[in-house]
């Protein structure tokens, strides 16, 4: 089981992701520089959070054309497991690996706080250890997390069970009051149609140790390890 954490200029959650995989979960992990062009022998690629290319033009728009991205798109299209967290999610949207786009938070504020999300699909590589409808406490930290897709796009997400997480209250109510950023239908995370690519705005790597106030994020990393272990 080998994880790769991609480092773009401006990534700032790469070391946290590396630490959780290496130190908390004791799994092999390597950094992948964005200028590399080949991926050798990885089981899971993590696109970490941060401000790749200073968020210039649009979040993720320039990172999407980094040299490594062609190999990552190829890896994903062949069924490789890819998780994009926060800015990583934005890069996945810009690259077309996930449908939709990110808008600025409706409040026009950068929001950094713990939120609750409800697991809507437990049959994915990323959530198979979660219980049905399990509520996870995981922090967000973003300015552009207002997920958008058109009406037909939302119908497709629903129909294909691509919504992985909804923002919700502590007891699992999905409503406007518990939507931190204006995201369409309270969407906090989605998977692609094939189910091997996840994008999520909340940061599981920041909630993987008790000392940090929650270890719910570990469920996501452990689910990936279990999924890949079962496959090989």
């Amino acid at each position: 089981m080998r994880f790769g954490v991609v480092v773009f200029p401006g990534s700032n959650c790469d070391q946290d992701c590396f630490y959780v995989v290496n130190d908390v979960l004791k799994q092999p992990v390597r950094y992948i520089w964005h200028k590399d062009t080949k991926l050798d022998n990885f089981d899971c690629i993590i696109l970490p959070g941060g401000f790749s290319y200073g968020d210039y033009l649009r979040t993720g728009a320039i990172a999407r054309f980094s040299p490594i991205m062609n190999s990552i798109i190829d890896f994903a299209q062949k069924g490789g497991i890819v998780i994009g967290i926060c800015n990583g999610f934005q890069i996945l949207l810009e690259s077309g690996l996930l449908p939709g786009a990110m808008l600025r938070n409706t409040t026009l504020h950068f929001i950094c706080k713990y939120v609750y999300i409800k697991t809507e699909n437990t049959k994915t590589p990323f959530t198979n250890l979660c219980k049905k409808n399990q509520i996870l406490k995981i922090p967000i930290a973003h300015n552009e997390g207002n997920y958008y897709t058109d009406e037909a796009g939302l119908k497709n997400l629903d129909k294909n069970r691509q919504i992985a997480f909804h923002y919700c209250s502590a007891d699992g109510e999905v409503n406007k009051e518990h939507n931190p950023n204006g995201a369409l239908a309270n969407i906090a995370g989605i998977i692609n149609k094939q189910g091997n690519v996840l994008g999520m705005m909340p940061h599981p790597e920041r909630s993987s140790e008790k000392e940090l106030g929650s270890e719910d994020g570990l469920l996501i990393f452990k689910s990936i390890i279990k999924w890949i272990g079962n496959k090989s």
Binding site: L57, I62, A101, T106, D150, G182
Partner: protein
């Protein structure tokens, strides 16, 4: 030499909270009877060419590939001759 001005705006179907906030600020300054206010981006670019048609095609391509996100944004551009 040609100068291209590319205007990128959120699609009409996409809410623009920045535009709305600016409208409220203008109203609080006493500017009334304002319709919808929307904000966008201007990218200006000089291109070393005299072939407007060819430059227009390349700009169109740049907009689709990188400069605008067609899911949420519209774009238009103007090409002018400059010295």
């Amino acid at each position: 030499m040609l100068e291209v001005k590319i205007y990128i705006t959120l699609k009409k179907t996409v809410a623009d909270p920045q535009g709305l906030t600016i409208k409220h600020a203008l109203e609080s300054l006493g500017y009334h009877n304002l319709g919808e206010v929307r904000i966008g981006k201007l990218i200006s670019m000089k291109v070393n060419s005299r072939d407007r048609k060819e430059v227009g095609q390349r700009i169109e391509e740049m907009c689709q590939k990188l400069l605008a996100n067609p899911i949420i944004e519209d774009y238009t551009f103007q090409i002018e001759e400059v010295k």
